[in-house]
Amino acid sequence: MALTLPTRALAWCTEALLLVSLPGLDPSQPLSWALLALVLAAALKLLEARRPGERRLVALLQVIAIGLLATLRSDLAGSLLQLATLLGAITALVALDGPAAPAQRLLRRSLALLMAALPLALLPFVLLPRLEPFGQRRGPLAGGTARIGLSDSLEPGAIDRLANEDAPAARVVFAAAPPPATQRYWRVLVHEHFDGRRWRPGSAAAPLGVAAGRVSQLWLVEPAPLLEVPWDGQGAPAAAQPDLQTTARGELRSRRPPTQRRHYRLAEATAAGGAAWRRQPPTPLTLSLPRGGEPRLEALAATWARLPTPEQRLAAAEAWFRRQPFRYSLSPGALPQRGGLDTFLFERRVGFCGHYASAFTALMRAAGVPARVVSGYRGGSWVRSLGGSAYLDLRQSDAHAWSEVWLPRQGWVRVDPTQWIRADSPAPAAPALLTWWQRQWWGLDVAWTRWWLGFDRQEQEALLRRWLGERRTAVGWLLLALMGGLLPLLLALLRLGGRGEGGDPGRQLLARALAPLANLGLAPAPGETLAAFGQRATAARPDLAQPLAALVGSYDRLRFAPLSPARRRARWQRLRWAARRLRRAAAASDSPASGRR
């Protein structure tokens, strides 16, 4: 049964879709509050709206809200929801100016309008050069707060219990095979400054220009409170990404607002520039350690300091860690303010990656080996999605901390002391059905993001350069010509699609057949039956008697006689033939040559 919804109900449906999209927005974003205000304003206006003009205003408020929402949520689910909401708003607008019609027909009509508008919108979307933001600083933005992720300082001793957060952190698509599981370390922040308890990045690291080769990775990172984004430390930002740069500490920094979902492409570095940060000599900060705060740690390190080379000191440290009964735990309990590392290393011996990386780095510094703590992610699940690309799924629970030590002949070398100790956490369970479905969806999401977010200003520039080369100045003319050619075509398609929506096709055919009679002063009076009109017209114009009788008879039989589908088709043919015959006869009768006007 066809459902006829009043325009008010359609507007409320659209409002409900907007409300569904609101949860999960970041309250620290001013745009989130603007969006909330718009949705509320639309709801209040809808409550009191009576006239069509007021309801149009509600639809417009909803459309603006969809635009703001598209800024804040660009994932596949969010985009689909925004599309459905836009369809609802346009349907409410179409319903305001048209006859009451079943919701299905209204939706079809609105969808046809949107589909016709889409090519016209996509042309400038692809071809029109994009503007840079007005009045924004081109540099690191003030770090906003975000929901999840790593923080810019590491203080394992203050953490009593680490929440095992399973929220998504990032997804990576590789052009070739992913790295082996043991090599999956994704660095984010490098902490060089240590005050005895807390690790910080230290002063801003200088940018490092690295020549990039072929694109090898596509990263999609969830909002996080840092400007630094994860990478493998091997390659370099792909060309045409000025928003992204590597630093001398081996961090990858993005200028995009950290409260937005970020995406970037990494390329294989050229042989000369590969991992140039590894060869950046250590600063004095990487040897600094507050003296006297951890006496037992310093005493132990002093024994290693007598060894002649850093490699030997490192080997001694590994041997010592492996000998001690250390255990891995996410709930080790807080350490005392003073002598926290001593308590961890010599008394409790229970902790998570942050404790081990922190204690090991401090030991190395005390032994005279430049060292620093790196935080980022380790591992990740390799997901073969059915609907999209295979990708590596990184969760917040994959967050990890490790150390780097400076070995003069190798540069900065990664050392993960957590690997030396025994884990007491259970092995991860096989993915449940829900998780499987979730990962398939994320695969689609990655594919969508790759296509949707990937087409940014730089990508557009590259595309235009590829397509038009030196003739890029002609893009305006090309756009005008394409739109001018496309508009009539789309209008014709819309007319073709809307032909069946004018009501009963039999009535339409009848109206077209009777239209020429109006020139002869013959038109059905309101309330007059077709048979009565036929008799009246025949009396007025006996020369049209035959085609009129044929039309009236065919129409009545098609309309009222019980017919099989085959007979019905045949009757349709007869009606079309009768209509054509009447039109010709009326035209002949109306012509000046007939002399009957």
């Binding site: 100016d97 996509l122 929506e501 004018g502 009777l514």
Partner: protein, 301 residues
């Protein structure tokens, strides 16, 4: 297009030459929203609001020809407007012929009286518009504005036409004195001999059972005065020749005359009009006679 220059065509066919289209107020707001989203898109470098802003502009581009096409080809012609009184809105018939369906059609007179929005299928349609006449006489309803805003309300496409068929408007009804010139009846006297009728009863006679209860005088029966049948007789209709009361202002007198004519017609009496200058409308009865008398009032000099 000619604007009220007294030579309006009898049939108006809407096309490129006489259709106008401009963005509606909502259309300007729509463009403003597109501009706002464009600014958001540039500042955030996000694709979503950029595509949505371009979609809004594209929908506006599409709405322009679609709204124009809604009215293009529409034919309007006048019907035969029936005469009517000046005391209320008059019905003005129009005939519309459409080659294709038209959505959201609105027809409005200059005084704001409007009909619509109408959603019409292809074919011929008879419409009746109401309009308020300025007074008695032969009047045209004035300028008609024909407009549509469908499909999205972003543009208003409009045309104007002054339907050329005039309509007779007689004076409004108002009880009051009129000048009467009684006419001799067929029997030759002014006395009104009775005739059988049913307006009121004037006598009683003993009730016969076959007469049924309808004419039984129930109040007398209730008082115990026996069964009586009511005998009905109407007074013989008079024949009068009416003229405006000379002591009144002409328009007021004509209004009283209009009332009296319709009253007499309702009573079934025979009446005529003394038109002045020795001319007269011969006494008569019936709807056509009444209409002729009222039109005579409408065109009273």
């Amino acid at each position: 297009m000619r604007f009220a220059d007294g030579s309006e065509p009898a049939v108006l066919r809407l096309g490129l030459a006489n259709l106008y289209i401009v963005p509606s107020g909502f259309g300007w707001l729509w463009l403003g929203a597109a501009a706002l989203l464009l600014v958001v898109a540039v500042q955030t470098q996000a694709n979503g609001p950029l595509l949505l802003a371009l979609m809004l502009v594209a929908l506006m581009l599409l709405a322009l020809p679609l709204t124009h096409r809604n009215l293009e080809g529409l034919e309007l012609r006048c019907g035969q407007p029936p005469p009517g009184p000046a005391e209320g809105p008059l019905a003005y018939p129009l005939q519309l012929r459409l080659r294709r369906p038209c959505q959201g059609l609105r027809l409005a007179w200059a005084d704001g009286t409007a009909l619509g929005p109408l959603h019409l299928t292809a074919g011929t349609h008879g419409l009746t518009l109401s309009w308020w006449p300025p007074g008695r006489g032969l009047h045209r309803p004035g300028r008609l504005r024909i407009e549509v805003r469908a499909p999205l309300g972003l543009f208003v496409c409009w045309s104007r036409w002054s339907p050329p068929a005039p309509q007779w408007v007689w004076p409004r009804r108002r009880p009051g004195p009129v000048a009467e010139q009684p006419q001799p009846t067929a029997l030759g006297g002014a006395a009104a001999p009775a005739r059988e009728g049913s307006a009121d009863w004037h006598d009683l006679r003993p009730h016969r059972p076959e007469e049924g209860p309808a004419r039984l005088a129930w109040p007398l029966l209730a008082r115990g005065r026996g069964r009586h049948t009511k005998v009905f007789r109407d007074p013989e209709a008079r024949t009068v020749l009416l003229a405006p009361a000379p002591q009144l202002h002409l328009e007021e007198a004509l209004e009283h005359l209009s009332h009296r004519l319709q009253l007499l017609e309702a009573r079934g009496e025979t009446y005529g009009l003394a038109l002045g200058d020795g001319r007269s409308l011969a006494p008569g009865r019936g709807r056509q006679h009444l209409q002729a008398a009222l039109i005579a009032l409408a065109q009273w000099p």
